[in-house]
């Protein structure tokens, strides 16, 4: 005992002195106490698994141990910062994209939704995957239109544009599948399109976009049915269409033609939905005259599903061949009542056989047609001549 710590007056010191001496401890009691202590110690020996406290907050302890370094490491801090920023950015973007998936065209996140769709489509490597995506996105557009219609809102025009874009891509992707692989996706596409038509049919008709959307789907459905019946012709038509970047009209091109155009010059092809890529086409050239079709003011040299009553040999008409009596090798749309041998027609009209025979020179350049051309184009676009 240090004296400096315990300066005490004598009376208190006497009192404390009474308490200091203690009798020695009973050795038996001390032994019992130690034995009990050691027994407890053995029973509480650390188990194999961690204790409750450590186990329940073990992840925090692990993180703390990870972070707690004895030495300061600038590289570690930099990497941690980068990882944190990236996780925040990517996590936030991912959350935004996820939240945008249920948005409607009149909502702010709709742009994110369409952007993510385009990105996903462009990132998909296989045509089959892209076709599935485009089909799904077409279904989304139909669902968006339906949702808006149920709320009494007229779906905006861009939704229709995107729907047509998806559908055209579907047709294109189905057409570039192998010969044996085309039927299955086309059947799938047909089922989906029929389903979308039913959905639109049951939805309240608000505004003209809904009606036009249904027409667009029906048009593509005709294309698909043509592809199922005439796969080769379908593929060639689509390829030629792609070549001239006329895909948006591709479905309409195969809709049944409007019938005879009394003003159409002989030798003009059957497909002329609207001014085509070759306005200078001469009479006698097959297929893709760009004329407006049944437009009564149509000039000679313009295409269209006119009543090519006397096509020249080698001319090609790619119309739907409404004339059931048309002979093989005859081209042009239906009204061609007297085709010459060697003429060809490529349209998926009521007489599909007119395009299936290779000897008919169906729609390719062999017969002078350098682009797909159908009788329905001119009528449906410029003259409202849809069947």
């Amino acid at each position: 005992m240090k004296q400096s710590d315990h300066t005490l007056d004598s009376p208190l010191e006497d009192w404390f002195a009474v308490l200091r001496p203690i009798p020695s401890r009973n050795p038996q009691a001390a032994a019992r106490g130690k034995e009990n202590f050691m027994t407890q110690a053995r029973s509480l020996a650390i188990p194999v698994s961690k204790t409750d406290d450590v186990r329940h907050i073990g992840w925090i302890v692990s993180i703390q141990q990870l972070i707690r370094n004895k030495e300061y490491s600038p590289m570690y801090v930099t990497l941690t910062t980068i990882a944190l920023v990236l996780s925040l950015l990517l996590g936030g973007t991912g959350a935004t994209v996820y939240a945008a998936q249920d948005s409607l065209p009149n909502q702010p996140l709709y742009g994110v939704k369409t952007f993510s769709e385009d990105l996903a489509t462009s990132l998909s490597l296989r045509n089959h995957q892209r076709l599935q995506l485009e089909l799904d996105y077409a279904g989304r557009r139909v669902a968006e239109m339906t949702s808006l219609a149920l709320r009494g809102v007229n779906p905006p025009e861009p939704v229709l544009v995107r729907l047509e874009m998806h559908l055209d891509r579907v047709i294109e992707l189905a057409a570039i599948a192998g010969e044996g692989d085309m039927i299955k996706p086309l059947l799938q596409v047909r089922a989906r399109l029929e389903q979308q038509i039913r959905v639109l049919d049951e939805a309240p008709q608000v505004g003209s976009v809904m009606i036009r959307a249904m027409e667009a789907i029906q048009t593509r459905l005709h294309w698909v049915e043509f592809g199922l019946s005439e796969p080769n012709a379908f593929r060639e038509q689509v390829q030629v269409r792609n070549q001239f970047q006329l895909l948006p009209e591709i479905g309409e091109a195969y809709s049944p033609g409007p019938g005879p155009n009394p003003d159409q010059e002989p030798g003009e092809g059957g497909f002329s939905p609207k001014p085509g890529p070759n306005p200078d086409q001469e009479p006698g050239e097959g297929g893709f005259s760009p004329g407006p079709g049944p437009n009564p003011d149509q000039e000679p040299d313009e295409g269209g599903p006119g009543p090519n009553s006397d096509p020249e040999p080698g001319e090609c008409g790619s119309g739907p061949c409404p004339n059931p009596d048309q002979e093989p090798g005859e081209g042009g749309p239906g009204p061609n009542s007297d085709p010459e041998p060697g003429e060809s027609g490529t349209g998926p009209g009521p007489n599909p056989d007119c395009c299936s025979d290779p000897e008919t020179g169906s729609n390719n350049g062999d017969n002078g047609s350098n682009s797909p051309q159908e009788p329905g184009d001119g009528s449906s676009k410029s003259n409202g001549g849809k069947p």
Binding site: W15, F16, A30, G33, K34, F37, M38, Q40, L44
Partner: protein, 195 residues
């Protein structure tokens, strides 16, 4: 804290039986004396020692426990247990214990007077605050340095000095001692028996 004690604690956290036995042997006797001085009862003192080491094992098992000063930690546990005990069981007059080894040369009247004085001092100690009582016990009875007491209480040494000052004044007041008073027979209870 020296290296040996640090190593001892590290092994104790792993429930090394030898280390735990070493800790018990090192501190159980001192804790027993500390408890016995405050209780005046050997059974209670043994119980206090047992409870202190049981609590020590529990905190080790929970992954906690003392980081540096094991002795202070154990005395703090013992002190808290004694304080809790006296809260539940107010001090009574304690009987003479058979286990007390009475020196042969001590006369009976001295023995009785000594015991009475011990009881009076214990009663006075338990009228202090727990911290004041522990300061008095550790500094003046157990002979600890103030720095060690500060470690037990988790307070600075200046706070220990302040506690000691107030505790001594309270004890003088309770025991009827003036500060500069010389030994006075009247305030020594056993004097009545020895005179």
């Amino acid at each position: 804290m020296d290296k040996n004690q640090e190593e001892l604690l590290r092994r104790a956290r792993k429930f090394d039986q030898q280390a735990l036995a070493e800790i018990y042997d090192s501190y159980s006797t001192g804790l027993y004396g500390y408890a016995l001085r405050l209780f005046g009862d050997t059974n209670l003192a043994e119980e206090c020692v047992a409870e202190t080491f049981a609590r020590f094992l529990k905190v080790l098992h929970a992954g906690k426990g003392p980081k540096d000063y094991l002795k202070a930690y154990l005395y703090r546990i013992a002190h808290n247990w004694i304080t809790d005990y006296y809260r539940r069981h107010p001090p009574e007059s304690l009987p003479l214990e058979e286990e007390f080894n009475i020196p042969d040369e001590m006369r009976l009247e001295e023995l009785v007077a000594n015991r009475i004085q011990q009881d009076q001092l214990r009663e006075a100690l338990f009228r202090l605050t727990p911290d004041q009582r522990q300061v008095i016990m550790l500094v003046f009875i157990e002979g600890w340095r103030k720095a060690e007491v500060a470690a037990v209480l988790g307070k600075p040494v200046s706070a220990i000095k302040s506690l000691q000052y107030r505790a001594l004044n309270s004890l003088r007041r309770i025991l009827g001692i003036t500060k500069n008073e010389v030994k006075h027979e009247a305030i020594r209870p056993y004097a009545r028996f020895t005179s």
